[in-house]
Symmetry: C2
Subunit: 264 residues, 2 copies
C-alpha cells in the first residue's frame, strides 16, 4: 500500500451482458475482459475482488473463467491480495467445504462471509494461516437497515454485536479477520473503530454506490491504513468500446491519486 500509494481494490463484477461486445467472439470472454482490466490496473491497486455471482450465473463455464482469472492474477502479480466476494455461511460441516473451495481449490487470500448463522458458520474459514475472513458487518445497500441496525435489549445495534462477538468470542484478530463496512455509512465508521480499532475494513460503495473517500478515510483509517476501498463498476465499465481497458486505467489512476493523499 505504501509503496504503490493506493488502497484500491478493483471489483471484478464482470457481467457477460455488460462487457464490450467485441469480446464475445473470444474463446473465454469473461476471462479476456478480466485479463485486460488486470493488465491495465495492477499498478494502481492492491487487491482484486471477483464477485462469485457474476461467474456462477454462467454456470460451470463461468466458474472456469473465474479460476483462470485467479490463476492469472496469482501468476503475474503474486503480491496481489485476492478476495472472493462470496458472502457464504452455512453449518460448520458445510462452511468447511466452502473454505476448502476458496482457500485450497482456488488460491484466494480472503473470502466475504455472512454472519447470520453464527460461530460455526464462520470459524471454519479462520483456520488458514495467512488467509482472512471478511465478515459482513454493515453493508452499503438499502436493505442493510432492515436488520443490521436493530438495537438489542442491551442497547447494541446488530452490526456492532457482530463486530464484538466475532472479535471477543470467536478468536477474530487482525491476522485472520477483516470486516465489510459500507462507505455510504461513513459516520458509523467511528463507532466501528471503537470496537475493532486494528482490523482492516473492506469498504464497498465508493463510485457507483456513492460513498465519499474523504469521509471513509477520516473515520475509518488507522495507523496501518486499515482500509481496502473497493470500486467495481466505475472502473471496469468506464468505457464500453475497444478502449475499455485504457478507460479503466484512467479511472483507477484518478482514484489512486485521491488515495495517495491519505497515505503520507
Amino acid at each position: 500500500m505504501l509503496k504503490k500509494k493506493t488502497f484500491l481494490c478493483v471489483g471484478l463484477d464482470s457481467d457477460i451482458k455488460k462487457i464490450p461486445q467485441h469480446l464475445l467472439s473470444e474463446e473465454d470472454p469473461l476471462f479476456s475482459f478480466n485479463k485486460a482490466i488486470i493488465d491495465a490496473t495492477a499498478d494502481l491497486c492492491i487487491a482484486y475482488k471477483p464477485n462469485m455471482a457474476f461467474y456462477e450465473t454462467e454456470g460451470w463455464k463461468g466458474v472456469r473463467s473465474l479460476e483462470r482469472t485467479v490463476n492469472y492474477i496469482r501468476s503475474n502479480h503474486p503480491e496481489m491480495f485476492i478476495i472472493a466476494d462470496a458472502k457464504r455461511g452455512d453449518i460448520g460441516n458445510t462452511s468447511k467445504m466452502y473454505a476448502r473451495s476458496f482457500f485450497e481449490h482456488m488460491d484466494f487470500d480472503a473470502v466475504t462471509v455472512a454472519p447470520y448463522m453464527g460461530s460455526d458458520s464462520v470459524t471454519p474459514f479462520m483456520g488458514y494461516e495467512g488467509k482472512w475472513v471478511i465478515l459482513l458487518a454493515l453493508t452499503s445497500n438499502k436493505g442493510s437497515a432492515d436488520f443490521q441496525n436493530i438495537v438489542s435489549q442491551k442497547g447494541e445495534p446488530l452490526y456492532q454485536t457482530v463486530l464484538r462477538t466475532s472479535a471477543s468470542e470467536w478468536g477474530g484478530t487482525p491476522d485472520n479477520m477483516m470486516y465489510v463496512v459500507g462507505a455510504t455509512r461513513a459516520d458509523m465508521l467511528a463507532d466501528v473503530r471503537k470496537i475493532i480499532p486494528h482490523n482492516f475494513l473492506l469498504v464497498p460503495g465508493i463510485g457507483a454506490q456513492g460513498g465519499s473517500l474523504e469521509e471513509v478515510c477520516k473515520y475509518g483509517m488507522n495507523d496501518q491504513c486499515g482500509l481496502i476501498v473497493n470500486s467495481s463498476r466505475a472502473i471496469i465499465y468506464a468505457d464500453n468500446s475497444t478502449d475499455f481497458a485504457y478507460a479503466a486505467h484512467v479511472e483507477a489512476s484518478r482514484v489512486r491519486d485521491q488515495m495517495s493523499q491519505y497515505l503520507v
Copy 2:
C-alpha cells in the same frame, strides 16, 4: 405429498471424500453417486436439495456435476421439487445475478437465501413465477443462537423479525416464500407458526443433526402439510459399499414410513 405419503427432502451433500470409493473410477463420480441415490429414492421423497458447497469445492468440474444432477432430476422426475441450498444474499444488483444462476441458467424451483443484508438482497429472487425463496429464519446449527435469538428493544427475537418483515413488508407469500426452521428447535416452531401460519417450512436437522420428526409435525404442520423435512447424511451415506444406493433406499423408506403416519 399426499399421493406419495411423504414430505421428505433428500439432501445431496455429496462429498467426493465420502462417497463409495469404487465410484472414483467413473468419469464424473459426483454425478454417478447422485444418479444412483436419485434412482433409489425418487419414489420416497418429494424434493432434492443439493448443497452448493459440496460441488463448488471441486471447482468448475463440481459445478458441472451439479448441473448434470439437476438436469437428470428434471428429465426423469419432472414433478420433483429441486432446492439449491446456497444461502446466498448480496446487494440487489448482485442477488439478481444469483437468481439468474439458479432460476434461469439452472432449473431449480427454490433457493435458500440469507437475510442479513435485508430487502434488496432477497426480493430479486421473488420475481419468478412458480419459484420460491427459502429464507433462513432459525437454523439448526450451534451458532444459530449467536444472533438469531437476540431480542430487540421491541421485545422480538431476530428470527421472528426476519419472518415478520419478509411477510409483511417484502411481499413474501406462501406462493413465493418458504422458511428454513431448524428441527433442533421444535418448540420454537409454535412461535414461528403464529407469524407465518401458511408458508411451507424447510426443516433441516432430522437424522445426523438429531431433530425429532414427531415434535416437528406436532408444532410445524398446517392443513397443507406445510413441511419439507430434509435428511442428508443419514440417507446418502447409509452405507459405503457397492450397496450404498440400496442402503439409501432402505433408510429413506424408513423415514417415509414414519412420515406417512402424519399424512392421513
